[in-house]
Amino acid sequence: MDSAIRTRALRKIYTSAPPAGAGRPQPSPAAGKPKDSKPQITALDGIDLDVAPGEIFGLLGPNGAGKSTTVGILTTRVRPTSGTAWVDGRDVWRDQTAAKRQIGVVAQRPNLDFSLTAREILQFHGAYFGLNSRERNQRAAQLLDRFKLTDRADQLVRGFSGGMMQRMSIARAMMHDPQVLFLDEPSVGLDPQTRLLLWEIIREYNQKGRTILLTTHNMEEADTLCERLAIIDHGRIIASGTPRELKASIPGGYLLRLRFGKQSAPLLERLGTLASVTEVRNAGDSGIDVYASRGGALIPEIVTTAAACSVELVDVHISEPSLENLFLHHTGRSLRE
């Protein structure tokens, strides 16, 4: 059976400012030669994705990692520099119209039709996809109800709050019942209650056998909602798997971020020899990251070891196995940085 979403060696190099929908990729050191007149920004650097039909798949990464560009390419809005992208077995850039039929897209920024009311937005969207008027009215009413927008249905969306616009965008993307739904940072700016409603609706839609690809930099969202994840940074996939697999791949599981009074090479070495410690890393300045299968239980030994090297422990932060730690492990940076 075909993948619902597949990409091979997807690359995107921007030579001008990327369109607003594509986020803001960070310039990577590898990108661009100084003699080029135009600055080159490598947004994607060889992305291979395989998303099975009926899966909720997450692209997790910090801002500018290339998540939105990936979604842009898969949804015909950003032309790849090289590589191929398929949605539901159709080459997105060879057969755009057929690909567009299979997809629903929620962009990062609300892009509702300000000249129309909420109900009209859904009805016209349905009309673009060939729904007859009975189907249009029925589905629009259902979606407005599901997204708790019925009481504002016949008002222009211009006056809607950010959260309402976001709900409207998602309702619109579901209007023609697409096989694959793309959601770019769907819960940014939503209050916790609306976020839960959104997650519920996404799961419900998924249970109808639809595939969902969402991008997020929210750990909780990735962890609770997604069946599989790809962690993306600087336009490359640095890890992928189920949230459980990914968390299990963190050496030891626990991460202890330690800060000492001063830097000490012998200390770094001796910490590595402690029982249950799997990896020790110099985290710059006088910080050391310790990956271990124990958390707090390890602290007394660390204090003793530090004292033996005549270094004082000044700060400790223990975190349990999480995607945040995984990202940190792979990139040396926090997702929120």
């Binding site: 921007y14 990327p18 369109p19 607003a20 929908g21 594509a22 842009g72 949804t75 015909t76 809005r77 950003v78 032309r79 755009q96 119209t97 057929a98 567009k100 039929r101 997809i103 897209v105 962009a107 920024r109 892009n111 509702l112 039709d113 300000f114 000249s115 129309l116 009209e120 937005i121 016209f124 969207h125 009309a127 673009y128 996809f129 060939g130 619109r172």
Partner: protein, 256 residues
């Protein structure tokens, strides 16, 4: 070609136009109304201009009204929808080739330009009544000219709307549209420029000149005008060039 989607896009524009009907009407009605009144009624009535000027003026006013409406109707929404609100994205994702979204916009602008042109006739008829001499002896020519004029106006709106930033709208009006109107043979026939031979050649790069002369050829053939075949071919060339250029710019804007 997905006609269902195309017609739905057109229906959306028609729906929005209906909703803004009063505003649109004022936008298209008011300017020609004032022009016709001041030049055709006040200036002629007080003897500063000869009575025949009424008939000479009307096709020019019609041309301005059409060109302005066509450009405005396509360019302004595109500038806003691409830059500010990004509203167009939903239509770009409709299951239809992206270029057809642009063609639909152009067609909607063309229809508005035709309406704006035809509206001038009854206004002119009422205000300029005694002494206005229009000859509809070649309706086919009139229809073709109207369509070609509306076509290049809407296609020009597409080209301008996709190559301009929001902050340059003012510049577009002062640098492009104002000189276009004054050097567009709107208030005078092309032959009136014979005393300025260089200028007379230069205005031939202005599509509005052919619009005014073409409408003169089809409505008031008693006045001198450029040869009809020349007008038709020039208008056809402008239609094609502006549409091709506009579609190219649209693609550049639409796909990152």
């Amino acid at each position: 070609m997905n006609w269902t989607a195309f017609l739905a896009l057109l229906a959306r524009d028609a729906h929005v136009a209906r909703r803004n009907a009063v505003q649109l009407l004022f936008q298209t009605f008011l300017q020609p109304l004032l022009f016709v009144f001041i030049f055709g009624r006040v200036m002629v009535g007080s003897g500063y201009l000869p009575a025949a000027y009424k008939s000479l003026l009307l096709p020019g006013i019609m041309a301005i009204s059409m060109v302005f409406t066509g450009i405005w109707a396509v360019a302004m929404p595109l500038i806003a929808e691409f830059q500010f609100t990004r509203e167009i994205e939903d239509r770009l994702l409709a299951p239809i080739d992206t270029s057809w979204v642009a063609i639909e916009k152009t067609l909607a602008g063309l229809i508005q330009a035709v309406v704006a042109g035809l509206i001038v006739l009854p206004i002119g008829g009422i205000i300029l009544r005694p002494g206005l001499e229009l000859h509809f002896n070649n309706p086919a020519l009139f229809i073709v000219i109207i369509l070609l004029v509306a076509g290049f106006s809407a296609a020009g709106g597409l080209a301008l709307g996709c190559s301009m930033d929001q902050q340059h709208i003012g510049l577009m009006f002062s640098m492009v549209l104002t000189p276009m109107i004054f050097f567009g043979c709107t208030y005078y026939p092309w032959s009136a420029l014979s005393k300025f031979p260089i200028l007379q050649k230069i205005v031939l790069i202005n599509p509005l000149a052919y619009a005014s002369e073409g409408l003169r050829a089809s409505l008031v053939p008693q006045f001198p005008h450029l040869p009809t075949a020349f007008i038709l071919s020039a208008l056809a060339v402008f239609d094609c060039l502006l549409l091709i250029g506009g579609l190219r710019q649209f693609q550049k804007k639409a796909v990152g």
